[in-house]
């Protein structure tokens, strides 16, 4: 019996492969994601455990964490190093200066190298031999810096910028750019580059000066004396550690740093796996549909097996066995494709300069395990329903002509089940989105949302057979129009193809005409010569093999074929379940891209609105990447530019405000109201003038949270450990989507008193005579000393932020395209199976005068109708989901904005999907031999 199943599968090789592809892409994504993220994780694990291999204790500053943001940890006093050295358990100890983001290496064109958000480390390392054991950096060329004008940089930057030893390299720090002599090239651990991060290494005193760490270190590493364990050393250090710092063993520190990185790769992994899951879900639809069709077509086969003694169980097993083989095949192929994909991604990252450290990208048993579990599991699950249908085939079907599968036993309840599922899905989604954060954790919330969306799709898919008939009559007309437009666009190609085939294949016609057709076809833009090659190959094939070209074929016209399109529409309606399941697969992909597109459009609108509501300045100075704070000096520099009327700095850093981590900003009371619009709840612009040494204005959101009123006082604590008490002078409301200022704002002098190294997030600039190209040039010139920042007009700034959204959006579209492609294979499968099933009917149509081109158009029309049904179901669903999420995010003021142009593009993509899917099935229909088709049983 198993043999029957396997032989049957072998007999339907092409179909099996098409079915398997539905799963291959999902498995590829799973195994690729796992291979890549595992390799990254183990690489970081390796790096950090190597780095701290011979370190017993590490002292570092504690950082605040606000919604995942952290800033540079506070420094440690230099005196602490002496105290650590004096401890009985300490053998050697050294201090390290390390600044995450201030050491901007200047490239050959004079701009700071853009690390794309990755750190730009500035290190000060004591490279004396006795401290080498603590040095995480490995020298590759030259030597370490010995004097204040020498620097060592990372090998990736050196290679990229073609810096050689002895070159003078500019580095911007907390002070303007200074040139250093390149004396060495190094790397971190054993990797050349970490995600595009750069580093510059100086002597300790140089680094302390550049990064404003007079008499301070960022980390202290110590090794224990013989006989003292790492933990004992840590215990000895603990009592002398200041309250804003912590001490860990080397192993703990390695683990902490690995965890910090892997929590990020974990996020990436789950994100990618979620998209793989979507592709697999769509794949499950395709498999379900394909198997349902083939099971129906094999009704007589199953019945015969039953009459000669096969039990229901055996029939079930034979269909499941088929699914297992298809799933295993798909898993096997997907496994290796995934590995290839991971290598490709790594290569692309390496090429683009954002190299990611990875261990060798190789298969591990866990990846093999997951690939097969996922691939085989999904296929078998999707095969269950068709397999049970197969067992319901009565043996008597073996003796009846034209026997069809009996309706499934749940068929009468399908609508109720569909409605039930949809209701449950909506309930789950609403609960997940609107439940308060206290009652529902993030993990569970995401799980509910995921399950809800999957149930919703399943419910709608089950409901859709009822919608096929009305939708088909509607999409029929859209399909006619859309197909006609495509026919028009491709007419030159169609015509050239026809002319060339006329020239080559129509023997018996006048030679002059044939030559004329050949020449005309060949010179026809845009594809004439390419088509000529194709037709030549077809001619050779027809001579060498028994293959026959699709000829004779009538002259291509641009008529709208009312009769054939009507037949196609009826074909798409006659088996609503099949059309619905095919369309449902596409529906999922289209719903998700619509959802993402609409949500992004809403966010862009909110972002733009938030900026327009708040920012009155004509120009905005930010760091190059747009979000890391920059040196305050750069803000002072722009204030001196000739066209500047007002330059208002906004200081920005994390602080503990009234007990919780928040952003604190420092504003200039004299100028801020000229560049920033406060939506006052209590107070007015005049309030700003009364801030004084300890006055603050707070965002209404914080005020509500902490029940603060004007006149109340609240404590502010910063990372260095300094604290102060501030008095609420005014309360304003900032747009929650993008509050430009921190939750609380004090004056710049008050801010600078709290922070050792105060930085600007923005400098808002008003100029004389408004924004212009000339002004832009003058402003750019004013900040050349500070290559790590940029000045943009407000409009440019908004556009740049839209571009950031768009690039993330593109990333999501690419991932979702995968599921659209999977559903495309589903459409090819369904159409091909329908053509096969209707062979006799097509033969009849051809016998009564349907031309090849008409047969082709008929199948194509059915493809486009089906695709458009998918769009008609999916796009409203996507809009609805976006609306739901927008409502759920209303506290962040996310707007609901329908991206009409994007949706039109999706619609066109759906039409193209239908056309492409119909390509081969239509060809098969057109090539049918009429006589054979009529005799076909």
């Amino acid at each position: 019996m198993l043999r029957v199943a396997l032989r049957g599968l072998w007999g339907r090789k092409l179909r099996a492969v098409l079915t398997a592809i539905a799963i291959v892409l999902g498995v590829t994504m799973v195994s690729g994601t796992l291979a890549l993220t595992n390799a990254i994780d183990s690489a970081f694990n390796q790096i950090f455990s190597d780095t701290y291999a011979s370190t017993d204790a590490v002292v570092s500053g504690k950082t605040f964490n606000y919604q995942g943001d952290t800033s540079q940890a506070p420094s440690l006093p230099a005196g602490l190093l002496d105290k650590v050295r004096a401890l009985p358990g300490t053998d050697v100890a050294t201090g390290l200066v390390s600044d995450q983001s201030s050491a901007k290496i200047i490239n050959r064109t004079g701009k700071a190298i853009d690390t794309g958000g990755a750190p730009s480390f500035g290190f000060g390392v004591d490279t004396s031999p006795q401290y080498q054991r603590f040095n995480p950096l490995k020298l590759l060329e030259g030597r370490w810096a010995k004097s204040s004008n020498e620097v060592v940089i990372d090998v990736h930057t050196a290679d990229d910028q073609h810096f050689k030893l002895g070159d003078m390299v500019g580095v911007a720090s907390l002070h303007p750019v200074k040139k250093f002599k390149l004396v060495g090239i190094a790397r971190y651990g054993n990797v050349d580059s970490i995600g595009g991060a750069t580093f510059a290494v100086f002597t300790i005193p140089t680094a302390q000066a550049l990064f404003d760490r007079q008499n301070a270190y960022d980390g202290i590493s110590a090794a224990a004396r013989q006989g003292t364990s790492a933990q004992e050393l840590v215990d000895q250090i603990k009592p002398i550690t200041p309250s804003n710092a912590q001490v860990r063993t080397g192993a703990q520190e390695a683990k902490k740093q690995t965890d910090d990185v892997t929590s990020f790769t974990k996020f990436i992994r789950y994100l990618l796996l979620a998209f793989a899951g979507i592709a697999l879900f769509v794949g499950a639809f395709v498999i379900f549909n394909t198997l349902s069709i083939t099971v129906a077509q094999r009704t007589r086969e199953f019945a015969t097996l039953r009459t000669i003694g096969a039990s229901r169980r055996q029939v079930l097993r034979s269909v499941i066995a088929e699914a297992v083989v298809v799933g295993a095949l798909a898993s096997f192929v997907g496994l290796f494709l995934g590995l290839g994909l991971a290598r490709l991604v790594k290569w692309l990252f390496d090429q683009s300069g954002g190299g990611i450290p990875t261990q060798s990208l190789s298969l591990s048993w866990s990846i093999v395990f997951w690939a097969f579990v996922v691939g085989v599991g999904v296929t078998v699950l999707a095969a269950l329903a068709p397999a049970f249908r197969a067992t319901k085939v009565p043996p008597i079907a073996a003796v009846r002509e034209g026997a069809t599968l009996p309706p499934s036993c749940i068929a009468p309840f399908t609508t109720w089940i569909a409605l039930g599922l949809t209701a449950i899905a909506l309930a789950l989604l609403s609960y997940a989105m609107f439940a308060s954060s206290n009652s529902l954790g993030t993990g569970l919330r995401l799980l509910y949302m995921g399950v809800g969306v999957l149930l919703l799709f399943t419910g709608i898919a089950l409901l859709s057979p009822r919608l096929v008939r009305p939708l088909a009559s509607f999409t029929h007309y859209v399909a006619i129009g859309a197909t006609w437009v495509f026919q028009l666009i491709f007419y030159p190609v169609t015509l050239a193809y026809w002319l060339l085939r006329y020239g080559v294949f129509s023997s018996g016609k006048r030679p002059a005409r044939r030559v004329g057709a050949l020449v005309a076809g060949f010179v026809m833009p845009p594809l004439g010569p390419a088509l000529a090659v194709l037709v030549l190959l077809m001619w050779i094939r027809s001579k060498v093999t028994r293959w026959q070209p699709e000829w004779p074929m009538e002259f291509p016209n641009l008529r709208i074929d009312a009769e054939m399109t009507r037949v196609a529409r009826e074909n798409s309606r006659r088996n609503p379940g099949r059309t619905a399941a095919t369309a449902a697969a596409l529906m999922i992909g289209l719903a998700l891209v619509t959802f993402v597109g609409t949500l992004a459009s809403g966010m862009k609108a909110s972002n733009r609105g938030a900026i327009e509501d708040q920012v009155k300045a004509e120009y905005i100075q930010t760091s190059t990447d747009g979000f890391t704070p920059f040196v305050a000096g750069a803000g002072d520099a722009i204030g001196k530019a000739p066209p500047v009327e007002t330059a208002s700095p906004v200081r920005y850093d994390l602080a503990r405000v009234d007990g919780s981590a928040q952003y604190l900003s420092g504003v200039d009371p004299a100028t801020i109201s000229k560049v920033y619009h406060f939506d006052w709840k209590t107070g007015s612009d005049a309030t700003l003038g009364q801030l004084g040494a300890n006055g603050a204005v707070v965002d209404k959101k914080l005020a509500d949270q902490k029940h603060l009123k004007v006149g109340d006082t609240f404590p502010i604590e910063v990372q260095g450990g300094k604290t102060t008490t501030a008095v609420v002078k005014g309360i304003y409301k900032a747009p929650p989507f993008f509050p430009i200022l921190g939750a609380a704002s004090v004056t710049v002098p008050a801010f600078d008193k709290l922070y050792v190294r105060p930085r600007n997030e923005y400098t808002f600039v008003n100029v004389k005579g408004g924004a212009s190209d000339a002004t832009q040039k003058q402003l750019d010139a004013a900040v050349t000393e500070f290559p790590d920042n940029q000045v943009q007009s407000r409009a440019d700034w908004i556009t740049a932020q839209d571009a950031d959204f768009n690039s993330f959006l593109t990333f999501l579209y690419v991932l979702l395209a995968l599921s659209v492609i999977v559903s495309l294979f589903g459409m090819v499968n369904t159409l091909a199976l329908s053509v096969y099933e209707r062979t006799r009917e097509l033969g009849m149509l051809r016998a009564v005068g349907t031309t090849r081109r008409q047969a082709r158009r008929m199948i194509r029309h059915e493809g486009v109708i089906t695709a458009l049904i998918g769009a008609a179901l999916g796009m409203p669903l996507g809009l609805f989901l976006a609306l739901l999420v927008t409502k759920a995010l209303s506290q962040f003021d996310v707007r609901y904005s329908i991206p009409v142009r994007t949706l039109v593009v999706f619609l066109v993509i759906a039409v193209i999907a239908g056309l492409v899917a119909a390509l081969l099935p239509a060809r098969r229909a057109a090539r049918l031999n009429v006589l054979e088709a009529l005799q076909y049983e």
Binding site: R3, V4, W10, R300, T307, I308, S311, A398
Partner: protein, 258 residues
């Protein structure tokens, strides 16, 4: 209506003499309900003896196919009962019927119903491998020789002629040495010459293996090789001929058509 007056019951010997392997008692079959109800069988009593070759004949719509479906446990009677080897079919569940098919029933179809992806040999042994048994080598070779497929054993159905395909199907029905083989228009899809060959083969096999065979057919030649021919009309048995010639069969059919 006039046929209704013919008493079918009287023409048939009472069911279940000791030698019967298939027995039907007062079998009726009604399709549909209410006004649309159709009575395909209106009370049939019959039995088939061991080693007997029985032909079931009758015009279209006479109920002959329905009778065979019910005898072969493909369909259930509305009332009455059927026994195969003294087992009442009505009481069996799906698994028990499956077992019954494996042990007692063989099928030959009008359209052969071979599995296209299996070779002739594999098609023949399929009922055994489904039941998890091995073919008796000697018997199998003998069977293969008898149906004349020794040199076609590894061919696929698509590489065989219609007659050869039906030979494969006959061998498949005989390979388990079932209690009874049911044949549904076995020559219905073949030309005259091939039909004759197939009928001869069926007759030979029944003799040599003492195989019981019930055959539904339109073909008077098929009925002529039978030990007994039952004629159905309007859901009743109207004639029971023993060892009829082709002419007698034709006459009987004409009589029915009148």
């Amino acid at each position: 209506m006039e046929i209704e007056e013919t008493n079918g019951h009287a023409a048939v010997p009472a069911a279940s003499n000791g030698n019967a392997v298939v027995t039907a008692h007062d079998v009726t079959r009604r399709y549909g309900e209410g006004d649309a109800a159709v009575d395909a069988l209106r009370g049939v009593d019959m039995s088939v003896d061991h080693g007997e070759l029985m032909a079931v004949m009758g015009p279209s719509g006479s109920g002959k196919s329905t009778l065979m479906h019910i005898l072969a446990a493909l369909d259930r009677p509305t009332s009455g009962w059927v026994e195969i080897e003294h087992t009442r079919l009505g009481q069996l569940n799906d698994n028990e019927i499956t077992r019954l098919r494996r042990e007692h029933i063989g099928f030959i179809f009008q359209f052969f119903n071979l599995l296209p992806m299996l070779s002739a040999e594999e098609n023949i042994t399929l009922p055994l491998s489904i039941a998890g048994e091995k073919p008796d080598k000697e018997f199998f070779e003998d069977l293969l020789k008898r149906v004349g497929l020794q040199d076609r054993r590894s061919h696929r159905p698509s590489e065989l002629s219609g007659g050869q395909q039906q030979r494969v199907a006959i061998a498949r029905a005989l390979v388990t040495r079932p209690t009874v083989v049911f044949a549904d228009e076995p020559t219905g899809n073949l030309d005259t010459r091939t039909s004759n060959e197939i009928l001869e083969l069926l007759q030979q096999s029944v003799r040599d293996y003492q195989q019981t065979l019930v055959m539904v057919t339109h073909d008077p030649r098929a009925a002529a090789i039978a030990d007994r021919a039952l004629f159905l009309a309007d859901g009743r048995i109207v004639k029971d001929l023993g060892c009829a010639t082709e002419r007698e069969v034709l006459e009987a059919m004409e009589e029915l058509a009148r």
